[in-house]
């Protein structure tokens, strides 16, 4: 779907070639005082320029149209026709789905952890209490009555531990299964990445075509101020933090930076 590499190059070269020829002719006519012929040459130059321009604008329009068709960018509102869901809006739906899936998995995992944690803590506490009693028994500091009580507690503890262990084991399994979102979201994100890549390629081709139009028409663009990001606005997680100077790569670097500021 990518557009041809340098579509306007030939047209632009043709135009420049004819411009050069005509210019020589023009100089000849002017030097020999043949002004009516000179005016005709100027006219011819104009015509050649217009032809090239029309040609390029036409190509640009076609390329734009193709890009829109290829990506089915949602123009149904703008153009008043009913289109199917575009690839772009499909992509944002898909990303929403990723957010949903990760949200659900995170909450499911936390539910399970919150349900398991008290059981584990309880086993730990009861085992500690029983250990202390057991040590007393081994030091022969325990009366028979107390021992009967201890043995009942140990029996109950073993039963409870068995049940808890089975519950926790099931929940650990469920936590593992809750990570299946990685596979699904991975696939979705890969598709969206491919789309973004395609869009980028086509945009680059369009920009190149527009450049040819500018060249034929002699349009020059001033450097429009590049949008400067205010640090005020959050930017989210930074990629490749470990190879960048302006980004910290972990809590230690944050701490170093803050302490260098007197924190």
């Amino acid at each position: 779907m990518a557009l041809s590499k340098d579509p306007g190059q030939a047209t632009a070269q043709q135009f420049e070639h004819s411009l050069k020829e005509h210019a020589l002719q023009l100089v000849d006519y002017l030097e020999s005082g043949n002004f009516s012929e000179a005016v005709l040459v100027v006219h011819a130059i104009n015509q050649a320029r217009d032809r090239g321009l029309y040609h390029e604008v036409g190509q640009l329009t076609r390329a734009l149209h193709n890009a829109i068709v290829n990506f089915q960018i949602d123009t149904s509102h703008a153009l008043g026709d009913r289109g199917e869901a575009s690839r772009i809006s499909d992509a944002s739906d898909r990303l929403d789905y990723v957010v949903q899936l990760t949200d659900r998995a995170a909450n499911r995992t936390m539910d399970l952890v919150e349900s398991s944690a008290p059981m584990v803590a309880d086993i730990g506490q009861e085992a500690a209490a029983l250990s202390a009693e057991w040590a007393r028994l081994q030091r022969r500091e325990m009366a028979a009555e107390e021992f009967r009580d201890l043995s009942r507690r140990i029996g109950a503890f073993l039963t409870r531990t068995e049940q808890s262990a089975s519950t926790v084991s099931t929940q650990l399994n469920d936590i593992m299964i809750a990570q299946d979102y990685q596979d699904l979201t991975g696939q979705v994100i890969k598709r969206v990445t491919t789309l973004v890549h395609d869009v980028e390629e086509s945009l680059v081709s369009l920009v190149r075509m527009a450049g040819t139009v500018d060249r034929i028409a002699g349009i020059e663009h001033g450097e429009e101020g590049q949008a400067k990001k205010a640090p005020e606005k959050g930017e989210g997680p930074q990629m490749h933090a470990d190879t960048r100077e302006d980004v910290v790569s972990g809590q230690d670097e944050v701490d170093d930076l803050l302490s260098s500021l007197g924190f």
Binding site: V120, A127, E235, Q238, V247, V248, V254
Partner: protein
């Protein structure tokens, strides 16, 4: 307490700085899962008196009327973001002394410096650990209420 238990609690409570476990904490983050994680970690540290808000615009009125002792906020949020919330807190006569801990994915040096200049009390970058969160909270309150 049983030291053999794998419970996070033991890792976290072994060095004890005096902290008022009843202090009222506001957790501000636009992602409910992150609020829940922070809330759970704070609960493991013994802080159970927490409330939540999803951005600065909801947090600020809560802070102004709610007798909070401590603010934990994200940076990047729709509506009023964390740095704006921090500035609003520092500009408010009744709130300006409140300790503010920023827990955020924003990791540019400029941003950390900006937060420091705006008067942040501590800065934790995501992804973070329970230990890092505990350390920062303790450090903040050591400074706020020297023994």
């Amino acid at each position: 307490m049983n030291l053999q238990s794998a419970n996070l609690h033991f890792l976290l409570v072994c060095t004890e700085v005096y902290l008022d476990k009843n202090m009222k904490i506001l957790i501000v983050d636009d992602f409910s899962t992150m609020r829940r994680i922070i809330k759970n970690l704070l609960r493991d540290l013994g802080f159970t008196n927490t409330a939540e808000a999803d951005d600065g615009n909801t947090a600020l009125p809560m802070l102004q009327s709610g007798n909070f002792d401590f603010l934990v906020t994200d940076w990047n949020m729709p509506g009023m973001n964390g740095i704006e919330l921090l500035r609003a807190v520092r500009a408010d006569e009744r709130l300006k002394q409140m300790p503010v801990l920023m827990v955020t994915a924003e990791a540019k040096r400029d941003q950390i410096i900006e937060a420091a200049q705006a008067g942040v009390s501590g800065y934790v970058v995501k992804p973070f650990t329970a230990v890092a969160l505990k350390e920062k909270i303790e450090k903040i309150f050591e400074r706020v209420q020297p023994k």
